[in-house]
Homo-oligomer: 367 residues x 2
């Protein structure tokens, strides 16, 4: 039976990088796999088409798909649209309505690119961190979330950070499970010295650890100290588990350490279905829509292609295919193929988005 | 008339580093200035003494003092004390009750220490950023802030981020004022794509800029992208203005860039008094209480000494004295005096806390 893949390329460089992913999907279809691809709109382009950052019809497709691949959303063009229908609202609705509570953000440093990091080479060479970010709770979704007019020219803005025990339990469990197939270490980050949600977070992670994962090494760090340690000695970490907002900040810092934002994929997973064991899932690059370079053939498609590799691994039990795709990417990098973002001071002619995609598809043959 | 200085050395390495500050104060007293020093407790030691992280009597003294110097609070010894009286609560009460809404955190890279940064030397050499962090609002103090028992073994933790127009207005004004005597550039950071408080923050900063500071260059960045840019190209920033929680995270990341957390001071300022023009103020190092090295004579007193330099500048209109103290620190570093945290792979014998303090006092003579 075909795997249903819903592609939401989105805005900015989204459609360009997704074009290369479609080639990769095509290669796997020509080599024994069976993906049925459907495409639809999300973000600013969806707003332009029907005044919504993601339509109900698109949501229906997303709910039914085996996996969603998303490019990127947003851009200055939509800076003035109403808050409820801004491009990001489409992404947030997808995460929330698909209940994709577990956001996996690997920060891996590619050997061929270690010199691109702003950190000293020895600090990032071989870096392999996995940030597990809670994605459907916290300050992103808590109510009240509003701006009140107080009169006298004063307004009051309110956002609410809310976490329930079960939300922390399930994300901690994901982190521990993933640690077991990695280096078996989890660091949990919060601000329990200031936030009540940090206190609950800390305590629930402790309980889950004691009850079910005491074989995994666990430590706790305040999120500010965690940000510091990421910059200071990133290789001390294996799996980091943290809430939605801290995860947003910390994963961006971690991404930067690798020197190549254009390389980093992510997976957002729901709970396994009780009957089928299937998880809802959305895969997307960590980078944004980069409106400044959109349409110029400059974008690096690797983050989006590696997001598809994560889909192969987590949604389609095709770990070998995922390995093959990742090897193809490494080979192309080792051959010196570079999009503009990967050209260092020594210079050289950049490959276009399309050339990079073609090189990866060609490398799939040999791997 | 004597300047009233309240010293709250706190926990861990606090008393040690403050011992060196007292020598520096003594030197200025012997050279024409007039500080009347009083000492009291804050943090874990205050809890041990009277079951409160800061007593009402201490608060009275703090309200009357011309400036408060704080060492550091907290440590594992107090991990299990009730939330309301944990060591950090003392610091938070001081900030809140003195209305110290403006937290100034310079991240300056000392030439002699540029190789200590985990970033490549050329990226941090000459780095001079000022983070202006809102300190009495946001998620640190908003209500509700509680853990509710929902039954069924479930708890719900809630923290509330609240910002009113006037709070954003006044911190933005501080940032613009400070930018004018620096490189005249302000970058404001929030998450307006996710948080209503980010929207209000952005809009009020824009209005303040337009109404009163249009001579200053202003740009906006999402806080996650801001964290990334701090790691990627820190020298692009002059003044960064941001909320309490983002400021906590971003200033720690920025601090780490300089390579030497033991070097970084901070100032927390209130509004100028309508009658006297005097601002309430608290000065403290950015580093924590470092319980692991407390009592061993290993701590670097420079951050605390430079916090006193900020006091000279911002509370006592003694800019020349502040310059002199800062030059003394630079000279001692240039001479190669190093506490243990500043010893690189090349090794060398570390100076103790006391030796570093003595060297700085000696250098004051010549500067
Ligand atoms: C686009 C934005 C809403 C989003 C977030 O804040 O989660 C992005 O920064 C991310 O990290 O995926
Ligand atoms: C100790 C803690 C309460 C404090 C904070 O979170 O503000 C510290 O991290 C700081 O940055 O001064």
């Amino acid at each position: 039976m075909a795997h249903d893949l819903l592609i939401l390329a989105g805005d900015g460089i989204g459609p360009e990088v997704m074009g290369e992913v479609k080639k990769v999907v095509g290669w796997f279809n020509a080599n024994g796999m069976d993906f049925a691809v459907e495409e639809d709109l999300v973000g600013g382009c969806a707003y332009d088409a029907h005044g919504q950052a993601v339509s109900d019809a698109t949501m229906d497709k997303a709910l039914k798909a085996d996996a969603v691949l998303l490019g990127a959303v947003g851009g200055p063009k939509w800076d003035k649209v109403p808050y409820e229908v801004r491009p990001e609202a489409g992404l947030l609705r997808l995460r929330k309505d698909l209940e994709l509570f577990a956001n996996l953000r690997p920060a891996k440093c590619f050997d061929a690119l270690a010199d691109f990091s702003s950190l000293k080479r020895e600090l990032v060479e071989g870096l392999d961190i996995l940030i597990v970010r809670e994605l459907t709770g916290g300050v992103y979704f808590g109510e009240p979330k509003e701006i009140r007019d107080l009169g006298n020219g004063q307004k009051r803005a309110i956002d609410t950070q809310v976490y329930d025990t079960y939300e922390i339990d399930r994300i901690a469990s994901v982190a521990f499970e993933l640690a077991r197939v990695r280096d078996n270490r989890v660091c949990s980050m919060e601000k329990r010295n200031v936030m009540r949600s940090g206190v609950l977070w800390h305590d629930v992670v402790e309980e889950v650890h004691k009850a079910r994962y005491s074989d995994v090494q666990l430590n706790h760090m305040l999120a500010d100290a965690g940000g510091m340690q990421l910059v200071r000695r990133p290789k001390q970490f294996d799996v980091i588990v943290t809430d939605n907002l801290f995860g947003d900040m910390l994963s961006d810092v971690a991404a930067m350490l690798t020197g190549s934002l254009g390389m980093l994929p992510s997976a957002s997973l729901g709970a396994p279905d009780a009957a089928t064991g299937r998880r809802k899932a959305l895969y997307e690059p960590v980078h944004g829509s980069a409106p400044d370079i959109a349409g110029k053939g400059l974008a690096n498609p690797i983050a989006c292609i590696l997001s598809f590799a994560m889909a192969l691994r987590y949604s389609f039990e095709a770990g070998e295919a995922a390995d093959r795709l990742e090897r193809a990417v490494e080979q192309v990098l080792a051959q010196g193929v570079r999009t503009a973002d990967l050209i260092g001071p020594e210079g050289g002619a950049p490959a276009s988005t399309v050339q990079m995609g073609d090189a990866i598809v060609a490398a799939l043959e040999g791997n």
